[in-house]
C-alpha cells in the first residue's frame, strides 16, 4: 500500500447552472518520502487537490488515505488532529505572525508536535541564525518564506504541502527556497507535494503530476531528477 492514496476525487463548486467541476475524478498514489510536483495552469484544480489532501477542503466524492487513515470519514475535530500530526503547510504568502520573532514563529509549529525537530538546529538548516530574533517585517521575502518553511517542517510532518511556495519570490530567492525544500526532503524524509505553475520545478521532483481541467493528464516518475541548484527558468 502506498503512503498516500487518492482515489476518485471529485470536487464541484457552485450549484445548478453555475456548477463548476474543479476535480473530475483524481487517482493518485505517492510513496513515503517522495517529492511530488503538481503542475498545471490556473484553474486546473491543483490547489484544490492540495487543499483536499491537506484536509482543509472536502471532496464531493472519492477517498484519500494517508498511511492507512481515510480522511473523508473524519469530522472536523479529527481532521484538525490529522493535520496537526501529519501535515505541514507552506503557502505562497508566508502568513507569519507579525509580532513573533523568526524563532518564535517556528516554535508555533513546534508546539503542535510531540516530537518536534530541534528548533536551533533547524534555524541553522534554514540559514536564519542571524535573523532568529527578528520580526517578520524586518526580513526579506525569501527569509520570510524560509521561516514559513521552518514553521511547517519543525513538527516533522509526514507530508509537506507546498502551495506555490516560490510564487511571490524572485529567481534567486526561489531557487534558494527550492534548495531548502530539497534539503528538508532529503534530511527529514518527509513526503513533499508541491503545487506550482513553474514547469522547471518538475525537474527536481520524484513524481510529476500534470493536471488540466480537473483531470490528471500526466503522472510519471522523473527518471532524470535534477538538483534544485541546477534548475533554470
Amino acid at each position: 500500500m502506498m503512503f498516500l492514496e487518492i482515489k476518485g476525487i471529485k470536487k464541484n463548486f457552485g450549484e445548478g447552472d453555475s456548477l463548476v467541476e474543479v476535480l473530475k475524478g483524481i487517482d493518485l498514489s505517492v510513496e513515503k518520502g517522495e517529492f511530488c510536483v503538481l503542475l498545471g495552469p490556473s484553474g486546473s484544480g491543483k490547489s484544490t487537490l492540495l487543499n483536499i489532501i491537506g484536509g482543509i477542503d472536502r471532496a464531493n466524492e472519492g477517498s484519500i488515505t494517508i498511511n492507512g487513515e481515510k480522511t473523508e470519514d473524519m469530522n472536523e475535530k479529527r481532521l484538525t488532529v490529522y493535520r496537526r500530526k501529519h501535515l505541514g503547510y507552506i503557502f505562497q504568502m508566508y502568513n507569519l505572525i507579525p509580532n513573533l520573532t523568526v524563532q518564535e514563529n517556528i516554535e508555533v509549529g513546534a508546539y503542535l508536535s510531540e516530537h518536534p525537530l530541534d528548533v536551533e538546529e533547524l534555524i541553522g538548516t534554514l540559514g536564519l541564525e542571524k535573523h532568529k530574533n527578528k520580526l517578520p517585517n524586518q526580513l526579506s521575502g525569501g527569509q520570510q518564506q524560509r521561516c514559513a518553511i521552518g514553521r511547517a517542517i519543525v513538527k516533522n510532518p509526514d507530508i509537506l504541502l507546498c502551495d506555490e511556495p516560490t510564487g511571490a519570490l524572485d529567481y534567486n530567492t526561489s531557487k534558494e527556497i527550492l534548495k531548502l525544500i530539497e534539503t528538508v526532503n532529503q534530511k527529514y524524509g518527509n513526503t513533499v507535494i508541491m503545487v506550482t505553475h513553474n514547469d522547471a520545478i518538475k525537474n527536481m521532483a520524484d513524481r510529476v503530476v500534470k493536471l488540466r481541467d480537473g483531470q490528471i493528464r500526466k503522472n510519471y516518475l522523473n527518471e532524470d531528477k535534477m538538483k534544485a541548484e541546477d534548475l533554470d527558468w
Binding site: N51, Y82, G88, M93, I97, N99, L100
Partner: protein, 772 residues
C-alpha cells in the same frame, strides 16, 4: 512546551498600549469604585445590623403627653416589655438648626463614640457626627443652643438616629436643620419639665418571631399603652425611619452599583470583541495557516480571548486592592455624609469579590467566547482566502451612482463598520444615561423647590396636635373634656387663618413603598384650595396621581396606620399640588368618614404666621422650609456624587468613542495608506474615514438625548415608587440637553483630533508591503 502564541500577548500590549491602558484604567476605576462601595456597604451594613445588638436598639418608642408614673409604667410593662426613659429636649442652635438632646443612654440605644469623649461636666455636649460635619463643628468647638454655650467633647452616633429623621412621618430627613446630641445625666436633669418630651423606649421581653408577629404585638401594645397614657407618638422599630431608612437605602444602592458595573463590563467586553474581530480579519491568513497546520479552533479562541480576560482579571484584582484600600474609604465617607452610622470594621466580603472579580471575568469570557466562536467557526480555507463572511454570497449594497464619490465612499465606510457603530450607540446610550442622571438631579430638585414655592396651599399649614388618647372611646368623659379644652385653645384671631380637617392614612399598594397620605377636609369656599367640592367628591394631589398613576374614576384604598381598617375613595379629579401626596375633600365629608364630629378641625391654612395658639397644640407646621427638606437633604447627600457620575459618564463616552474610532482607522489603515499613495490629502482622507464616524457620533448623540430622557423618566419613576416616599416630578431643563450635546461634541472633537493624528501616522509603504 508552552504555547508560543502566548509570547504575542505582552507585545500586543506594547503595540496597542493606548487601547489597553484606557480600558485597563476604566475597568480598574470602575471595579475599584464598586468593590470599594460593596466592601464599605457590606462593612457598614454589618456594623449597622450588628448595632441592633451591640447598642441594644429599642423595639420601639412612644411619646406621652405627661410623664408616666410608676403604676402606669408597671401596667404598660405587664404587656411583656421593659420601658426605658429616653426623655429629650429640643433646642435651637444659633445657626437655626434644631438639636434634640438626650441624656447619655446606658441601657438601650447606647451611644457609639466616634471621636473625643462623652460629656461629663455641665455645659458639655456630644453632637451627632454627621450633624457636626454638616456644620463644620468638631471636638473642642462651642455650640450655642437656646442661648446656652456647650463645649463639644465628642462626636457620636446614636443607633436610633442612623438617619436624622426629625419626625417619623417626614418624607425625608434633614441633617442640616436637625441633629441629635447627648449630655451628661446631671446636665440633662437641669432641664425644666416644660422643656422635656417624655419619650419611652421599649424592649420586648421575648422578641417576636417575625415581622407579622411584631406588627400584631406592637398594635396590641399600642392599645394597651393608649389605655394608660395620652400618647403623642407611637413608633415601633419596624416603622421607625430614623432606624430603618439607612439599612434599606444601603441595600438599594448596592443593586444599582452592581448593575452599573456589569453594564460597563458588558460594553467593554463588546469593545474587546470588536477589537479582536478586527484583529482576526487582519490576521485571517495567519489564522488560516495555523488552522491548516493543526491548531484547533479552541486553541485559537483561547489565544484571542486571553488578552481581554487577562486585562479584566488584572483590572479586577487591582480594582479590588484599590477598592479595599482607597475607594472603601471614599465610599464610606459618602455613607457617612448621608447617615449617622457608627464606626465600622472592614469586613472581607466574599460576595463583593465574586461580583467584582469573578463575574466580570466570566462576563468577559462568555461575551468574547460567543463572538470568537462565531468568528472562528469558518474553515481554514475561508481564512486563507479571506472569505470571512458567514453569509453565502454577500453582495455589495447598491449605491446610487449619481451620489458623489465621497458620499458613496463614506456610506461604504459606514456599512463596513455598522457593528462598531451599534456598539458605539449602546455605549453612548449608557454614558448618556449616567450623564443625564448626573446633570438632571440638581435641576429636578431645584424645579421641585420652585414648584412647591409656586403652588403651596398656604405659606403656613398648622397641623394641630390632637393626642391619640383624646380619640379613645374608652375614656369618653376625659375625651369630652379634652376636646372642649382643645377647641377653646386652638381658636385664632388671625384673619388669614382657614380651618381644615386632617387625617393621615397609609397606602396599601405594596408594589410601592408604603407611605402616609394626608387627607385634607377643606371649607367649601376655601381661599387656599381652589376646588369647588361638593358632597363626597375626592380630589387627589397631582403628585399623588403622578406617582401612583391614578386618574379620574380610579379608586384609592387607604388604611389606618396602626389598624387594618381600610377606606376607599373614588377619585373625582386631580388638584395641582406637587408638594405632597394628599387627598382633598370637604371638611364635612372627612369628619363624617372618620367620625370626627361636625365641627372638628385639625389645622389652619394661613398666609401669615399664627402666633396666638399655644405651641403645644401645634403638632407641626408645614411651611416652605419643611416642604423643601427633601430637596435640601438630597442636594447635600448626592451633590458630590452627581459630579462624580457626570465625570464617569464623560470618561466612558470618550473611551468608547476613542476605542471604536481607533478600530475603524486601524481596520482601514491599508486603504488609508493606499489613498495617500494615490495622492489624497490629509483633509480628504479625514473626510473619507473620520467624517463617517463624526456623522455617526452626532447622530448617536442626537438620538440618545431624547431616548435617554425617556429612559431616565422611567428609571426615575421606578426609583421614586420603589425607593422613596413622596414624589419628585421628573423634569429636564433645556440646558441639560444642551450640556449633553455640547459635552458629547467636545469629547468627540478631542477624539477626532487624535484620530486625525493617527491617520497622519499611517505609513505609505504599508499598502505596498502588505500586497498579497
Amino acid at each position: 512546551m508552552k504555547n508560543p502564541l502566548n509570547k504575542r500577548l505582552p507585545r500586543e500590549i506594547r503595540g496597542d498600549f493606548g487601547k489597553y491602558l484606557v480600558v485597563f484604567l476604566l475597568l480598574v476605576l470602575c471595579i475599584g469604585f464598586i468593590s470599594g462601595f460593596l466592601v464599605a456597604d457590606n462593612s457598614m451594613i454589618r456594623a449597622y445590623n450588628d448595632g441592633f445588638e451591640k447598642y441594644n436598639i429599642e423595639n420601639g418608642h412612644f411619646l406621652t403627653e405627661h410623664k408616666m408614673n410608676k403604676a402606669q409604667k408597671r401596667a404598660v410593662e405587664s404587656n411583656g416589655i421593659t420601658l426605658y426613659d429616653q426623655f429629650y429636649v429640643e433646642q435651637e442652635a444659633d445657626f437655626g438648626a434644631k438639636v434634640r438632646i438626650y441624656a447619655k443612654r446606658d441601657n438601650v440605644n447606647t451611644v457609639c463614640l466616634m471621636k473625643g469623649a462623652f460629656p461629663e461636666k455641665e455645659n458639655e455636649i456630644s453632637l451627632d457626627r454627621m450633624f457636626a460635619d454638616n456644620h463644620e463643628l468638631t471636638v473642642g468647638d462651642i455650640i450655642l443652643l437656646a442661648g446656652k454655650e456647650y463645649t463639644i467633647t465628642g462626636l457620636v452616633a446614636l443607633p436610633d438616629y442612623s438617619c436624622l429623621f426629625e419626625n417619623n412621618s417626614d418624607s425625608m430627613f434633614d441633617a442640616m436643620l436637625f441633629g441629635v446630641a447627648i449630655v451628661s445625666g446631671d446636665t440633662f436633669a437641669q432641664y425644666t419639665e416644660d422643656e422635656l418630651n417624655y419619650d419611652y423606649a421599649w424592649k420586648y421581653d421575648v422578641e417576636p418571631q417575625n415581622e407579622a408577629e411584631e406588627k400584631t404585638v406592637s398594635e396590641d401594645l399600642m392599645s394597651a399603652v393608649n389605655e394608660e397614657v395620652a400618647l403623642k407618638d407611637y413608633v415601633p422599630r419596624f416603622e421607625n425611619q430614623a432606624i430603618n431608612f439607612t439599612g434599606e437605602d444601603m441595600g438599594s444602592d448596592r443593586a444599582m452599583m452592581i448593575v452599573l458595573l456589569y453594564m460597563v463590563i458588558v460594553i467593554m467586553a463588546f469593545v474587546f470583541a470588536i477589537t479582536t474581530s478586527n484583529t482576526i480579519e487582519k490576521e485571517a491568513n495567519v489564522i488560516g495557516t495555523l488552522r491548516a497546520s493543526g491548531y484547533t479552533r479552541g486553541e485559537l479562541i483561547r489565544h484571542y480571548m486571553a488578552m481581554p480576560c487577562i486585562v479584566t482579571l488584572i483590572s479586577a484584582v487591582l480594582g479590588n486592592i484599590l477598592g479595599y484600600t482607597v475607594m472603601k474609604n471614599i465610599c464610606a465617607r459618602m455613607y457617612y455624609g448621608s447617615y449617622s452610622l457608627p464606626t465600622y470594621e472592614t469586613v472581607w466580603n466574599a460576595e463583593a469579590f465574586l461580583e467584582t472579580t469573578v463575574v466580570p471575568v466570566v462576563l468577559m469570557i462568555l461575551i468574547n467566547f460567543w463572538i470568537l466562536y462565531r468568528k472562528l467557526k469558518l474553515s481554514p480555507l475561508q481564512f486563507l482566502r479571506r472569505d470571512l463572511s458567514r453569509k453565502k454570497k454577500r453582495r455589495a449594497v447598491r449605491l446610487n451612482p449619481s451620489l458623489r464619490f465621497f458620499t458613496r465612499f463614506r456610506i461604504r465606510v459606514l456599512l463596513q463598520n455598522a457593528a462598531n457603530y451599534l456598539i458605539m450607540f449602546i455605549g453612548i446610550q449608557f454614558a448618556y444615561v449616567l450623564l443625564m442622571f448626573g446633570l438632571v438631579m440638581q435641576p429636578i430638585l431645584e424645579h421641585y423647590q420652585e414648584l412647591i414655592t409656586d403652588n403651596m396651599i398656604a405659606d403656613y399649614q398648622y397641623i394641630l396636635n390632637m393626642p391619640v388618647s383624646e380619640m379613645n372611646d374608652k375614656y369618653k368623659l376625659k375625651m369630652l373634656f379634652s376636646m372642649l379644652q382643645f377647641e377653646q385653645n386652638v381658636e385664632t384671631e388671625n384673619e388669614d387663618a382657614e380651618k381644615f380637617s386632617a387625617y393621615t392614612l397609609r397606602t396599601t399598594d405594596e408594589s410601592y413603598m408604603l407611605e402616609d397620605i394626608l387627607l385634607y377636609g377643606i371649607e367649601p369656599d376655601s381661599r387656599y384650595v381652589h376646588l369647588s367640592l361638593t358632597g363626597d367628591e375626592v380630589y387627589i394631589s397631582s403628585a399623588y396621581a403622578e406617582k401612583f398613576g391614578l386618574q379620574k374614576g380610579d379608586t384609592i384604598t387607604l388604611k389606618e396606620k396602626y389598624e387594618d381598617k381600610t377606606y376607599s375613595f373614588t377619585v373625582t379629579g386631580t388638584y395641582p399640588y406637587e408638594a405632597g401626596l394628599t387627598v382633598f375633600m370637604t371638611r364635612d365629608h372627612l369628619n363624617e368618614v372618620f367620625d370626627l364630629g361636625d365641627d372638628m378641625f385639625g389645622g389652619y391654612f394661613s398666609n401669615t404666621e399664627i402666633t396666638d395658639i399655644d405651641e403645644k397644640y401645634i403638632g407641626s407646621v408645614i411651611d416652605l422650609d419643611s416642604l423643601t427638606k427633601v430637596t435640601r437633604q438630597l442636594v447635600l447627600s448626592m451633590g458630590e456624587m452627581m459630579k462624580l457620575v457626570c465625570g464617569f459618564a464623560i470618561l466612558i463616552f470618550v473611551i468608547l468613542v476613542y476605542l471604536l474610532s481607533k478600530i475603524i482607522i486601524e481596520k482601514n489603515a491599508q486603504s488609508i495608506s493606499m489613498t495617500k499613495i494615490l495622492g489624497y490629502s490629509r483633509g480628504e482622507i479625514a473626510r473619507l474615514y473620520i467624517l463617517p464616524t463624526s456623522i455617526m457620533v452626532v447622530l448617536c448623540v442626537l438620538i440618545s438625548i431624547p431616548v435617554t430622557s425617556y429612559e431616565i423618566g422611567i428609571i426615575w419613576k421606578a426609583m421614586m415608587s420603589g425607593m422613596m416616599t413622596g414624589w419628585l416630578p421628573y423634569w429636564v431643563p433645556k440646558q441639560a440637553y444642551i450640556q449633553m450635546f455640547g459635552s458629547g461634541l467636545v469629547c468627540y472633537l478631542v477624539v477626532a483630533a487624535l484620530e486625525l493624528h493617527r491617520i497622519s501616522r499611517v505609513p505609505m509603504d504599508m499598502a505596498l508591503k502588505n500586497v498579497e
